[in-house]
Symmetry: C3
Subunit: 155 residues, 3 copies
Amino acid sequence: MVDLTQIMDNEVFMAFASYATIILSKMMLMSATTAFYRMTRKVFANPEDCVTFGKGENAKKYLRTDDRVERVRRAHLNDLENIVPFLGIGLLYSLSGPDLSTAILHFRLFVGARIYHTISYLTPLPQPNRGLSFFIGYGVTLSMAYRLLKNKLYL
Amino acid sequence: MVDLTQIMDNEVFMAFASYATIILSKMMLMSATTAFYRMTRKVFANPEDCVTFGKGENAKKYLRTDDRVERVRRAHLNDLENIVPFLGIGLLYSLSGPDLSTAILHFRLFVGARIYHTISYLTPLPQPNRGLSFFIGYGVTLSMAYRLLKNKLYL
Amino acid sequence: MVDLTQIMDNEVFMAFASYATIILSKMMLMSATTAFYRMTRKVFANPEDCVTFGKGENAKKYLRTDDRVERVRRAHLNDLENIVPFLGIGLLYSLSGPDLSTAILHFRLFVGARIYHTISYLTPLPQPNRGLSFFIGYGVTLSMAYRLLKNKLYL
């Protein structure tokens, strides 16, 4: 049996694993945040979720949308749309033998930008806070994609 | 050329590959389910999708939303939000050299909980069926993230 | 330290890395397309995004939905729903030692079909253009899942 743990001895890969796990855990917090606002504001999407608050017509009034809940859901979807490319491209980039300090700079910028994006979205902070943090994360992922395709294109 | 097939000789990695493939195939079924309900209930989101049912104003009446279709779409999005972290964290966790039986317990719990989540959502079963299955999957992913960061943190 | 760059010497893996990076970059273009339509059509989801167009009640009129923007967002979500399984299953399939030409055929068909899907969705082209391109991508992913589970099932 191969000792796969030696892959984790690679410093770039270990750094990628740490930053990817942190940003995915942050993304998972968005589910908990949505659930928190749904409970405290009594705003539900499914009839079976609000039976504890009343029966029949009385329960139906909780089937509604709420600005706060929709804001968290948009932030969550934006996370998905940006973290999925980071995971895919970042994993392949990590395996392509990049310079350690360049790689860590990419990972740190992305994770920092996405955490700031969430803060900007949920507070909400005035623009261009959210816009800038979005574009930093976007640019980091494109920079990794460019380096990967420049060195390792095989079609 | 490296014989990459030896990675697949690692039992934890093979188990992860099997469970990940199964749960991703299940997630893909949600697309087919949405398409099925859209066709049988004649509920469409795009004008070009309902031209076979009528022309002009007559076709526009099929551009609507439907409780059943929206329910499947919410289940699908919830899958995406939870399966993406499982894939990313689970892959890195599998490479970090965990105990085989612990790893398989994590994978089985996650896949079982997500399948039960879909059944609870689409039937729908009364709460807390869906809520509990969500939290089991959520907890399994966080448990893998915790073990990964505890052993291999590199920032 | 392990020389991980040797993984990239594997031709199937290099091909997967190239096609995955291309299709993820294409998916990222959807964010830019949404932002482009939101700016040019002045259609926003958040109050803080439209303050440059007016204050108070005057700004609120830009908080609306628009057919064109919603179409891009549906195409983006459909990308996420289909590219995530391709990434997960495709990565594991690439590591399972498939025949090079078979693997490249799978990757090319998927990437071609998803690019055509986006063109069909955004133009929009009449059906079944979009439907067919969806099913080709869907079938390619299921074909990789089938080969993976047939050879390497470990539960």
